[in-house]
């Protein structure tokens, strides 16, 4: 009778008459494991709506008559029924419920008992992700749910993680799931830019992880179809905490942490650098038939000691972080409330990188009458971020001032500051605006990072108001109506300043820009819910409703340059030149939707669900705006069958088979994609221009995803072990592709959006959760999940033209029919020719071609191994697919131990069967003035002929992959990582209880504690291109991940 729990959560209290001759029954409810009293337990007279709750000391009293049955239910405990007799004192002890199957899951415009769910839904509980250092909850979801892959791109604060539910489900549109908070579709990263490039911002960071009760992840068509055109990438349904019955609880959670870069490169020191670069120049001169002059020298400080700068030390730090949350919650039979306030202040390991958030939340609901409930979930959040140019966000990977790259390229034989304390920079002449070169004859690096860190600014202040207000009317016990109006306003005020002294603001002599972005959205839902059980066996549910959503996004910006005085470092200061606004836009879209769902089950044994949604979207052309989406599913609860119970019940307590099929869509279409557009500009400053800016496609349709799913859920040994196994296959059709056009056609963007592609994802998901040991002192719970995925592109634009994935200045990914999306595309190499130390490339004919960066006049740099001139290797003609970037399998493994008052949690994640294009490695072995990784010491020399690194030739940017990607730099990315490990101690004691402290826990934890991998870069999870579908798995000049140590305290009153 879990349905009663379901009903009570719904708040469906029908008003029924009471019987005569009633008595008052009373008693106390305690927990079976430690005997503690349980406040807030629902006590219900079975078959009626009559009920009450236990008070603060766990006692209750209720008026009813003998012969009735009382049902005691409480979240996290097994439900208990007691048939009433003459004794009016009924004390009950409830057992802890390990059975996840008894939970309620949010399925979109309603909830279902997990036992009744026949679709693929994973749930992450809020407790699993709270109090771990992070900026947003999505960063904490790694490995927690089968089929949900979370990649943290790097350690830049608030850099949005890459979230993929059952893999990549689109090519040009987004593969990012839909995010629903308390029933409202909210802005997520998908909403587009949240500010100027280079400032990491994640709209999900406005939601305090501590406020989250559950995250339900809808994966298959049956689960997601209710979200129709936006469901192809899965849906994350976030439910925030509500007050629980009982007296008010006050909870404080806080932690303090220290963060550092996790895994750095071993680089050449000053002495090695000078030796290596001069050797390279000597080789170059001799190969070109020129005279050799050493380019680099030992630079000495005033004490005669050679400079040997650790550039990492100039850019990275140990960042300090602290976080505090307090909430007050409770509920009376008529109302429930949850108030919370949070504050977090985090420094990154990248100097100057900070993130500070203040947020408040109020969730309240009240039974206005016995059949009308009104409520609201309101949150306001404001955050301030400071983001130096990390060069680690999509599109900034090759930025000259990128702090991920500067420590790798800067010469160690020059100092940060000169003996007089001034910055070591060049301000005039040929090497103006570069790191000071002292005695070096070539430049020593790009910029001096100290100046930029000291003087540049890049801030983003965001304010988020996210609220919904709702009313539910219960017409009868079975039929209810709900209206829900939601507002999501996200305003981001970004400000940047580049100093005039050095760096990107040098030429402009100081440049400031302010950006104001306003995202505004309202959503309004109206729907009817009906639930009824006929003849005790036929349970029917139906939902029918409408939804409208309007989104308006507007950014305006302004920029000025050339400061009149170095004193100014804000836009509002004084400048001599007004620039064009760097980034203005005003765009809007609207959805008009109709949806319905029917569920039926027979005796909790056979289940059927059908869902339909019709969505209209403004971005599509007239006549093509609407699309229909659906999902159907069926389930068979085998373990409820008598024959099964008779035979297997002791071993297999639960077994359910389920399958689903349906078609959903992807609405990641730009707002006016159907239109061909002309934009205005100016020619020479004062006359208007009107130019072709977008080739639209009036025939654009919805991109659809047909999803098939079959699986089983099981519980063994009284559900001490539960799990699920699922097979899925998603076929995506009518993929909207920026179908490439020959650049010589001269169409803007060299592409036009068309519904031309198709692809599929399929795989198996397996999750198991087991209580391995449970004694009064020692508990061990483990949960493990694994998902496999196979992605294959089956059709692309006309002629199946390949699509290339660009990493700002380099192309290392290809999307080709018959292959996995965004595979690595590089020129194959075959090591180093031991004869002469030249890199050997393999051209499209399979011939070995070697390269020498320096040759005498008239000779070719490219030769066959016998010395004949060979055609130059070209990335276009000679590249091949090297491997897939999408992991073949991934998952997580969590273990929770507790011994008496100690608890330990160990959270591992892993992924395997994929390649990463380690572009950073190309830079680390580039033979220009750049510093190199220490392994270059093993380069080819006449004495050491068998080696992986070619003979160094000054200026050579070809041999090691800077000029175009080479297979040498494609590496397997398989890893196992300890995402988090924690140790806690429960301080709860009689003494504390006397101080009204019901619960207190002290804990310490380490995130990214260790990693096992053969990957030579900082981290195989790195995604230099962020959420890109076409260029995943590229590691280019990105800062590493963060390792954070923290200690925390949690107290409840």
């Amino acid at each position: 009778m879990k349905r009663i729990l379901l009903l009570s959560l719904f708040g469906f209290f029908a008003c029924l008459q009471t019987w005569a001759q009633s008595k008052t029954y009373s008693g106390k409810v305690t927990a079976s494991d430690d005997g503690s009293s349980l406040p807030g337990v629902t006590v219900q007279v079975k078959g009626t709506a009559k009920g009450t709750q236990t008070n603060g000391d766990g006692s209750y009293s209720i008026e009813t008559n003998a012969g009735q049955t009382l049902v005691f239910s409480f979240v996290g405990f097994t439900q208990k029924e007691v048939k009433l007799g003459a004794n009016t004192t009924v004390n009950v002890s409830l057992g802890v419920d390990d059975n996840v199957l008894s939970e309620v899951v949010v399925v979109g415009y309603g909830t279902q008992n997990r036992k009744d769910v026949t679709s693929a839904v994973s749930t992450i509980k809020g407790d699993a992700i709270k109090s771990i250092p992070a900026q947003s909850f999505d960063q904490l979801m790694s490995g927690k749910a089968a089929g949900v892959n979370i990649n943290i791109p790097n350690g830049v604060l608030n850099n949005p993680p890459v979230i993929r539910v059952r893999g990549f489900n689109s090519i040009t549109s987004s593969s990012y799931p839909l995010i629903v908070v308390d029933g409202v579709i909210v802005f997520s990263q998908d909403a587009g830019a949240v500010g100027p490039a280079g400032i990491a911002a994640n709209p999900l960071s406005d939601i305090n992880p501590n406020d989250i009760e559950t995250i339900d992840i809808l994966k298959d068509a049956a689960a997601t179809a209710i979200y129709g055109s936006r469901a192809a990438n899965g849906v994350l349904v976030i439910t925030t905490k509500k007050g629980k019955a009982g007296k008010a609880t006050i909870t404080y959670d806080g932690w303090t942490g220290w963060t550092q870069a996790f895994r750095k490169f071993d680089l050449l020191n000053a002495e090695e650098y000078v030796m290596m670069k001069n050797e390279a120049e000597q080789n170059r001169a001799s190969l070109a038939g020129q005279n050799f002059t050493p380019l680099f020298v030992k630079n000495l400080d005033p004490n005669g000691v050679p400079y040997d700068t650790d550039w990492y030390g100039e850019v990275f730090q140990t960042g300090f972080q602290h976080n505090h949350n307090i909430n007050v919650s409770g509920a009376t039979p008529k109302s429930s409330y949850y108030f919370s306030a949070g504050y977090t202040n985090q420094e990154g390991f990248l100097k100057k990188n900070t993130f500070e958030r203040k947020n408040t939340r109020l969730n309240i609901s009240h039974n206005v009458t016995d059949n009308v409930i009104v409520g609201a979930n309101v949150t306001y959040s404001s955050s301030d971020a400071f983001a130096p140019n990390s060069g680690s966000l999509a599109g900034t990977n090759f930025s000259t001032g990128g702090l991920g790259r500067i420590p790798l390229v800067s010469a160690p034989n020059v100092p940060v500051r000169l003996p007089d304390g001034s910055y070591n920079i060049n301000s005039t002449g040929g090497l103006a605006n570069s790191l000071g070169n002292l005695g070096n004859l070539d430049r020593s690096g790009f910029y001096n990072p100290a100046v930029m860190l000291d003087l540049d600014k890049a801030t983003a202040a965001s304010e988020r108001f996210l609220a919904n207000i709702y009313a539910t009317i219960n017409f009868t016990k079975d039929l209810s109506f709900r209206t829900d109006y939601g507002i999501d306003n996200l305003t981001v005020d970004s400000r940047t300043f580049l100093n005039p002294l050095h760096g990107d603001g040098f030429a402009a002599r100081g440049i400031a820009a302010n950006y104001l972005l306003k995202n505004r959205r309202w959503t309004w839902q109206n729907y009817l819910n009906y639930n009824h059980t006929f003849a005790d066996k036929h349970s029917v549910g139906a939902t029918i409703g409408t939804e409208q959503q309007y989104t308006n996004r507007n950014m305006w910006s302004a920029s000025r340059q050339t400061v009149t005085d170095p004193f100014f470092n804000i836009y509002e200061g004084n400048y001599t030149v007004n620039n064009n606004p760097p980034f203005n836009f005003l765009t809007e879209n609207g959805f008009q939707s109709y949806f319905g769902r029917v569920t039926y089950d027979f005796a909790k044994r056979y289940f059927f669900t059908a869902t339909l949604r019709r969505d209209g979207l403004s971005a599509l052309a007239e006549g093509k705006k609407f699309g229909n989406f659906y999902g159907i599913s069926a389930g068979w609860n085998l373990s409820e069958e008598k024959f099964f119970k008779d035979a297997l019940q002791d071993k297999i307590s639960t077994l359910k088979l389920r399958t689903s099929y349906g078609k959903v869509g992807n609405a990641g279409i730009s707002d006016f994609a159907a239109l061909s557009l002309y934009d205005f500009g100016n020619y020479g400053g004062n006359v208007a221009t009107l130019f072709f800016s977008q080739a639209g496609n009036p025939d654009l349709r919805w991109e659809t995803s047909t999803k098939f799913d079959a699986g089983l859920n099981f519980g063994l040994f009284s559900d001490k072990v539960t799990g699920e196994l699922t097979f899925y296959r998603n076929v995506i059709d009518g993929l909207i592709l920026n179908s490439p056009l020959s650049p010589s056609m001269g169409v803007p963007g060299n592409s036009v959006a068309k519904n031309v592609g198709s692809m599929f994802n399929q795989g198996l998901e397996f999750a198991i959760n087991a209580t391995i040991i449970r004694t009064s002192d020692f508990k061990w719970n483990t949960s493990f999940n694994i998902a496999t995925q196979k992605n294959e592109v089956t059709a692309l634009a006309e002629g199946n033209a390949d699509i290339f994935g660009v990493t700002q200045l380099e192309t290392a990914n290809i999307t080709r029919v018959g292959q996995s999306l965004g595979s690595i595309w590089a020129v194959p190499t075959a090591g180093v020719n031991p004869e002469n130390g030249r890199r050997i490339f393999i051209n499209s004919k399979g011939e070995q071609v070697q390269y020498s960066h320096a040759v005498p006049t008239g000779q070719s740099r490219w030769t066959y191994l016998d010395g004949r001139t060979a055609p130059a290797i070209s990335a276009a003609a000679d590249s091949r697919i090297i491997g897939n970037t999408i992991p073949k399998f991934y998952g997580g493994w969590d273990n929770n131990f507790s011994y008496k008052k100690f608890d330990v949690a160990l959270s591992l994640i892993y992924a395997g069967g994929f390649y990463v294009y380690n572009g950073t490695r190309a830079g680390l072995h580039d033979q220009r003035f750049w510093n190199n990784a220490a392994d270059i010491l093993n380069r080819w020399t006449p004495e050491t002929r068998s080696t992986e690194w070619p003979r160094v030739v000054y200026g050579d940017n070809v041999s090691n992959g800077s000029s175009f990607p080479i297979s040498e730099n494609a590496e397997r990315g398989d890893f196992i990582k300890c995402r988090n490990v924690s140790l806690g101690y429960n301080l709860t004691s009689e003494y504390l209880k006397r101080l009204k402290i019901t619960n207190a826990r002290l804990y310490t934890q380490i995130s990214n504690a260790f990693m096992i991998t053969n990957y030579s870069g900082t981290d195989p999870e790195v995604s230099s291109n962020g959420n890109s579908n076409l260029a995943p798995g590229v590691d280019r000049n990105s800062v590493p991940q963060a390792r954070t140590y923290s200690v925390g305290l949690s107290i409840s009153f």
Partner: protein
């Protein structure tokens, strides 16, 4: 009580849903762009469309900056200082490949300019706007002038010089119809160099016949007129080594004897102050320049001044080659010459101070100057004459003495030709003509600094066809 609340909520929900079900929820109209269907609706919009054709060739990756820079730094006059792969390093040291950004970006932006002209030529006749037929013809002539200029620029960097084999080599794909993204015309073979030249000349002849004789004010420099088309023809014929045609066209702009001043249309002549041509922008010497402004700058890392000026004003990307082959080391470049004053020392290096406006670097970009017409005419005459052509010497000295160079008196035809070619290097330093002068004569690119010479037989002599084109246009052959 119970019913009152229910009715209130239901009533409000139903009422609001009726009102909020606004028709425009699904049909918002863009507020910052206009539909292609209304781009030709008014005379003002058509004027703006024409301006946009100029703005397209003015792209920073193309004639607004980088095209000129690439053509200079391939030559021997500049030494790379910054080793920055983004600012022309691979162009300078001849290590470009088909996927290099300069190769792909220039192609993309040049063809965008071509398509803009093609679309305009396709659509202007059916434009709903009321404009006089002669105005329409003028506009078409401008579009064809710009298309010719763009094809000429493309064919001279992505293909073998016409003079190598009379244009028999592969040129570039010749796109002459507007493309709006619909249909499938990805595949198009490269026309031969000769075919591309034929189209260029056809466009220029049409432009000469149909452009206005003069515009007004700045438009005499920033928009094409008859003399603009003629001046470009002079350059095109010179690249084809059709010297009689060079002479015929140039003589439309140059009288037989001094003072040299265009007899018709805009009365072009040399400006007495050489440096002022590049600082005032509006002298009669400038036949065609691309204007810049703080609200229409060339864009980051595309600006002439950024490349050639030393820090702190410029980026100091390329210094002048003061030794060996460099023109600054050539005795013909006299110390008294005004033009030499534009070579300014900064530390141990010397930089070109021709383009001097600081960030956002709004110097107008010179495309065609009267002195080029004079020197091209001089060269054509010198090459056609059997001995030393006196009028060629006069033209040469007109340019030379204008900036206080000493008049020369060559004694042989060869000496005269060499003097003219040297004069071109001095006169047009930093204006993007050096590569053309090397390739049209089939000369090797001379060695400079650490870079060795490149012979005409080497693949590096011309640019590769970009990978982005080869990947989609299956009929397009790469350069060997």
């Amino acid at each position: 009580m119970r019913n009152k609340f229910s009715k209130l909520i239901l009533g409000a929900a139903l009422t609001l849903s009726v009102f909020s079900c606004k028709d425009d929820l699904l049909s918002p109209v863009p507020k910052t762009s206009i539909s292609d269907l209304s781009a030709y609706d008014t005379p003002d919009r058509i004027e703006s469309l024409v301006n946009a054709l100029y703005d397209a060739v003015k792209a920073g990756n193309f004639l607004g900056g980088r095209y000129l820079i690439y053509n200079d730094i391939r030559g021997e006059e500049f030494i790379n200082q910054t080793n920055n792969g983004v600012t022309g390093l691979q162009t300078w040291n001849f290590t470009l490949n088909a996927s290099s950004n300069e190769v792909n970006n220039l192609w993309r932006d040049a063809y965008y300019a071509i398509n803009s002209s093609n679309l305009f030529l396709d659509k202007i006749d059916a434009a709903p706007a009321k404009i006089a037929p002669e105005k329409v013809t003028n506009y078409k002539a401008e579009a064809r002038f710009l298309r010719a200029l763009t094809y000429f620029s493309l064919v001279n960097i992505y293909a073998q010089p016409f003079t190598k084999d009379n244009g028999a080599s592969l040129g570039v794909p010749l796109r002459l119809k507007g493309e709006n993204g619909a249909g499938n015309s990805n595949n198009l073979k490269r026309s031969t160099v000769a075919e591309v030249y034929t189209q260029i000349l056809e466009d220029l002849n049409f432009a000469e016949a149909n452009l206005p004789a003069t515009n007004s004010g700045d438009l005499n420099i920033t928009r094409a007129h008859k003399n603009t088309a003629i001046a470009l023809k002079v350059r095109v014929y010179l690249a084809m080594a059709r010297y009689a045609d060079v002479q015929r066209e140039a003589e439309k702009l140059v009288p037989a004897v001094a003072p040299f001043k265009a007899p018709t249309g805009v009365r072009h002549e040399l400006n007495a102050n050489y440096a002022a041509i590049f600082t005032s922008y509006r002298t009669l010497e400038s036949i065609f320049s691309l204007p810049m402004a703080t609200n229409d700058p060339p864009g980051t890392q595309n600006q002439l001044a950024f490349y050639y000026l030393a820090g702190p004003v410029g980026g100091g990307e390329f210094s002048l080659n003061m030794t060996g082959n460099g023109i600054l080391a050539n005795r013909a470049f006299e110390t008294t010459d005004d033009r030499r004053r534009l070579a300014v020392a900064a530390g141990t290096r010397t930089y070109l101070n021709k383009f001097t406006t600081p960030a956002p670097f709004t110097d107008w970009v010179p495309i065609l100057r009267y002195s080029e017409v004079l020197l091209s005419l001089a060269e054509a005459k010198a090459r056609q004459a059997s001995g030393v052509d006196a009028s060629a010497v006069a033209l040469l000295n007109a340019v030379r003495t204008r900036s206080k160079g000493t008049a020369v008196a060559p004694t042989t035809k060869e000496e005269l030709i060499t003097a003219i070619l040297t004069e071109r290097r001095i006169e047009f330093l930093g204006e993007g003509l050096r590569s053309l002068d090397i390739t049209r004569l089939g000369q090797p690119f001379p060695a400079k600094g650490v870079v060795n010479a490149i012979n005409p037989t080497q693949s590096e002599y011309i640019w590769p066809i970009p990978t982005t084109e080869l990947a989609v246009n299956k009929d397009c052959e790469p350069n060997p």
